[in-house]
């Protein structure tokens, strides 16, 4: 008799697989730690109108001092993960999956929705060039991108970036650009032939952010609360789909359970873990196990199941440069309080002189607390405050992502204490393209300089991948087939970022989701 299908993890990939099964009338069981926020807040309207009359302590600092964690603990978490209402996204990771690393900033989530509960919602289709040496072609992913687009609601525009992102007729209208982004975009449009000749292209991002009501979720209201509040309806979170599937009885959902490993007995897969609440052991038998615990935790589960503390596996993340963009025309201007406080534009650099295609996310900075900018300026504290007030309204930031391949990978290993150890040398990022990008941005009205560009610590992009590479013919126990099945482990499928042994500069999330749905589709054909 066929047993029920079990998916470990309720993040982007686990939920995408569940959506795939649901379409085929198969009801899988999702086993998840499934942290949720118990905090609700009544903040309404625009953030900046709200803060004129209201104390922000509960929203910004919190009773556990979450908002001060970067100061108190020396971490460098993105602002959203430190706000009291969103800190649940990373809570429990220290206890459930400790990581030792001096040079890799590893962030894990055991929340419902996973790390996607705090993502920038960039959802990009990979073309064949992006997939590179992976034994997967974009044509096999396209139907799943389309199906997920309908579920998520992706905004954007078919513009100069369509040659990289693909033409997509299902896009919701793009959102309103902030004043600075609009200024930059107009200047780009005026001389775009010249910029394009130099390899620089600019256009709207493809974001899982609603500009129209969709699937019962409200459209973006430009309130700038994205950093502060949880469950913002217009930013897609896989937990939205998870909740719908639970409500419609299309999945069985078991939360509060942390799975450590699996073993085999009489041909069956026995999943082993513990209940978070009381620490009691948990076991479940299946013949089909889909592991979607996020690259790092999935890798740990695989290594633990094989009791392997010797092997060092590759781990990838996009090398990332943070490029501040100062708009002299906006110096001293009022803060654009109704700007869209996430990625406003994308920049693609693709030149015949450069081997790598780079992608930049040009981000409006109106959503995070102003205090995150304190001491970013090399002046006294009093002047820092004045700079925050008078200069920060003239700033955008660009996150410039590089592709990553096995020869740039770090290593990940399970220690005898069941902790993970990650090692990563500093990235070597090609700087010639940066000079060309900087020159182009200056011509578009944004001042920046290579000397003020910061290279982020490895791991900071939080696009982890490549530990269990996907191969046409698997030969080692840490490889997965094109259908996601782990080598010599029939019925065990790896469906998150782990099989991607090469990542382009485009955010991998949407491709992970489409691949998970594709694998679910293939499994359901055999059921």
């Amino acid at each position: 008799m066929k047993k029920e299908i079990v998916i470990i993890g309720g993040g982007a990939s686990g939920v995408s697989a569940a959506l795939g099964f649901a379409e085929k009338g198969i009801i899988p069981t999702i086993i998840d730690v499934g942290m949720r926020s118990d905090k609700k807040h009544q903040a309404v309207g625009n953030q900046y109108d709200y803060r004129k009359d209201n104390d922000l302590y509960d929203l910004m600092i919190g009773s556990e001092l979450e908002g001060l964690s970067n100061v108190l603990d020396g971490t460098s978490l993105p602002p959203k993960l430190t706000t009291p209402m969103n800190n649940y996204i990373i809570s429990g990771s220290e206890e459930l999956s400790p990581i030792r690393s001096s040079n890799f900033s590893a962030i894990q989530s055991f929340a419902s929705g996973g790390l996607a509960a705090a993502w920038g919602a960039g959802l990009y289709r990979y073309n064949d060039e992006d997939l590179g040496s992976l034994p997967l072609r974009s044509g096999s992913l396209e139907p799943y991108y389309d199906r997920l687009s309908k579920e998520i609601g992706i905004s954007g525009e078919n513009d100069d970036l369509s040659q990289f992102f693909g033409n997509d007729n299902t896009l919701l209208p793009p959102f309103r650009l902030s004043k600075k982004a609009e200024h930059l975009y107009k200047n780009y449009q005026n001389k775009k032939k010249k910029f394009n000749r130099n390899g620089v292209f600019i256009g709207y991002p493809r974001l899982g952010v609603l500009t129209r009501d969709h699937m019962g979720r409200k459209q973006c209201d430009y309130s700038n609360f994205e950093t502060w509040l949880n469950d913002i309806p217009w930013v897609y979170n896989p937990a939205h789909s998870l909740d719908r599937l639970i409500k419609e009885n299309k999945i069985k959902y078991m939360s509060g359970i942390h799975i450590n490993s699996w073993s085999r007995k009489n041909g069956e897969i026995i999943i082993e873990g513990k209940n978070i609440q009381d620490g009691s052991p948990f076991r479940k038998n299946t013949d089909t196990l889909l592991i979607a615990a996020g690259t790092i935790n999935t890798t740990k589960m695989v290594l633990r199941s094989k009791r392997d503390t010797k092997s060092r596996l590759n781990i990838l993340d996009n090398p990332l440069l943070q490029v501040p963009l100062i708009f002299p025309a906006f110096l001293g201007s009022p803060l654009d309080k109704s700007a869209f406080g996430m990625t406003n534009l994308n920049l693609i650099f693709k030149s015949p002189d450069s081997k790598k295609t780079l992608q930049g996310s040009i981000i409006e900075l109106t959503s995070p607390p102003r205090s995150v900018f304190f001491e970013r300026f090399p002046v006294s504290s009093v002047l820092n405050l004045k700079m925050i007030k008078m200069v920060s309204p003239s700033l955008l930031a660009m996150f410039l992502y590089y592709p990553s391949s096995p020869d740039e990978a770090g290593s990940i290993r399970l220690t005898n204490n069941n902790e993970l150890e990650i090692e990563q040398k500093d990235y070597v990022t090609e700087r010639e393209p940066v000079k060309k990008i900087v020159r182009a941005l200056i011509r578009m009205g944004a001042w920046t300089h290579p000397l003020i560009i910061q290279q982020s610590k490895p791991g900071y992009a939080i696009h982890y991948a490549g530990t269990i590479p996907m191969r046409t013919n698997t030969t080692s126990e840490y490889e997965s087939s094109i259908n996601g099945e782990l080598h010599k482990e029939p019925g065990v499928y790896i469906i998150d970022g782990a099989p991607f042994s090469h990542i382009s500069s485009k955010n991998l999330s949407f491709t992970i989701m489409a691949n998970a749905m594709r694998i679910a589709d293939n499994i359901s054909k055999g059921k």
């Binding site: 900046y48 803060r51 004129k52 009359d53 209201n54 104390d55 922000l56 302590y57 910004m60 600092i61 001092l65 908002g67 001060l68 100061v71 108190l72 110096l331 001293g332 201007s333 009022p334 803060l335 607390p369 102003r370 205090s371 304190f374 001491e375 090399p378 002046v379 006294s380 504290s381 009093v382 002047l383 405050l385 004045k386 700079m387 925050i388 007030k389 008078m390 200069v391 309204p393």
Partner: protein, 129 residues
Amino acid sequence: MKNGEAAKIYRSIFRKDIPGIVQQRFENPSVKLESAFPESDLIKYRKIIDRISDLAAVEYASRITGTNQLLIKKFQIMIYLGECMPGNFNVFINEKRGLIRTLLMFTTIPFNSVYKFIKGFLALKIKTK
């Protein structure tokens, strides 16, 4: 908490009296922070708080020279706590066009920075021995 420590730091940054609620809120993170520093750092920090009036200058000199991390972090905590207060809205948020004010600020930055650095550096040398 040291006598008047929170009030002194708040005044150095915001140039006004500390609201009672901010003073209360400062205590908990302050204690947590201090527990991560060795006794020698705490002794030096207490000397700075007790003996130096221009804490902003000392904090700036410390930031430039990479010393006195405890003072730097306490300033950071106070900035966050200060931003929470609706009364400080205008300290952080600009609602009016102010190009001339901004340009004037830029002209004062080099002088202010050099002055503050020297003042803070000397205060640290002389008053914390």
